[in-house]
């Protein structure tokens, strides 16, 4: 068992063609190919995916907890921003 940790990658899986990719988790890997194979082995063992993306974690920039007030709260009290007054047509499965 080695203490050397390989680079961290984020894994996104798509359940069906056309649907959006969802974050599944992360894996360690030395390169793209290894990351893809590891992601397949760890996150699609029981038919969960039809396509996989892997992205180096260091390439993702995230908002921080301090940003919450300025980023997200302003939208909380503006009901007119929500499309509540539209009716969803019958038969629509994915919105």
């Amino acid at each position: 068992m080695s203490d050397i940790q390989l680079k961290l990658w984020e894994v996104f899986t798509q359940k069906k063609t056309g649907m959006s990719f969802e974050h599944a988790g992360s894996v360690r890997a030395a390169d793209k190919e290894m990351a893809l194979l590891n992601a397949r082995d760890v996150y699609s063992r029981r038919g969960e995916a039809t396509c996989i993306w892997v992205v180096p974690t260091e390439c993702i920039s995230s908002s921080s907890p301090e940003d919450v007030a300025s980023f997200f709260e302003p939208s909380d009290d503006k009901i007119y921003r929500h499309p509540n007054f539209y009716k969803t047509p019958d038969g629509i499965k994915q919105v």
């Binding site: 068992m1 080695s2 390989l6 894996v27 360690r28 890997a29 030395a30 190919e33 290894m34 194979l37 590891n38 397949r40 082995d41 760890v42 063992r45």
Partner: protein, 251 residues
């Protein structure tokens, strides 16, 4: 019963079964979580293949023996797995080279068997080939990474190639069973498989800066007749213990 077909199907099933058992020894011991899961995934794929081939062998034999009876109630000299598959894991590099050798063999063998005139064998070959494609990609990638990696990783996989090379002749031995079934278009032409195997292995080893050992062509064979290395007894002792000690055990 078609004795040759029974024998041939056993060989395919036992090879997958014993390699599956060997790989499952890695469960919980992989060098990292991802590789632990990768190796045991391959083990489960191989177990599925073994189950299908042995179940079919049981049907051919027609003595009411199912896949479990064949897996758990035969002794070493009745097993027909390739000698390579029973060789110990030793280390990760060793496991990878063994996998490379066997997966390459399965890749070309199953490709041939997709055209088998036996409908069951061709169906199982088509299904298994998808799994083997992945195993081979995994093993080839790792061979490259370890061979062309650090001094230590290179040395370890080169040792594995040197040690395991003696067992590669066993992959391509042709006996009466092969000859008879080949006549009827059921079995694969092992000469073709051997040619493709050599080409692919040379390519991968070369890319990985590894060399094929210069040995005086001594090859250890015997799997077709059930002549094994000393390891098979230990594998079976572990694998068969439970169903033999508790014959009626159920989940």
């Amino acid at each position: 019963m078609n004795k040759n077909l029974f024998e041939y199907t056993l060989r395919l099933g036992d090879t997958s079964l014993i390699l599956s058992q060997r790989l499952s020894e890695w469960c919980g011991h992989g060098p990292m979580l991802e590789e632990d899961i990768a190796l045991t995934n391959i083990a489960l794929d191989l177990l599925g293949q073994a189950k299908a081939f042995l179940s079919y062998a049981g049907d051919i034999e027609n003595k009411e023996r199912g896949e479990d009876d064949l897996a758990f109630h035969r002794d070493a000299n009745q097993f027909r797995n390739l000698l390579l598959t029973e060789q110990p894991n030793v280390d990760f590099g060793f496991t990878i080279i063994r996998q490379l050798f066997v997966s390459t063999w399965q890749q070309y063998l199953y490709s041939e068997l997709t055209h088998s005139t036996d409908k069951n064998i061709s169906a199982l070959a088509i299904k298994s080939l998808k799994e083997v494609n992945y195993h081979l990609r995994f093993a080839s990638d790792w061979t490259l990474r370890l061979g062309d990696g650090t001094e230590e990783s290179h040395q370890r996989v080169q040792n594995a190639v040197n040690e395991l090379w003696n067992y590669t002749g066993d992959l391509f031995e042709i006996d009466q069973v092969d000859k008879e079934l080949l006549k009827h278009g059921i079995a694969a032409d092992m000469k073709k498989v051997e040619e493709s195997w050599n080409k692919h292995i040379k390519q991968v080893l070369n890319d990985a800066t590894l060399s094929i050992p210069e040995i005086n062509n001594f090859m250890r064979t015997g799997s077709r007749k059930g002549v094994h290395t000393e390891h098979i007894g230990f594998i079976l002792a572990e694998m068969q213990f439970l169903p033999r000690a508790y014959p009626d055990a159920k989940w």
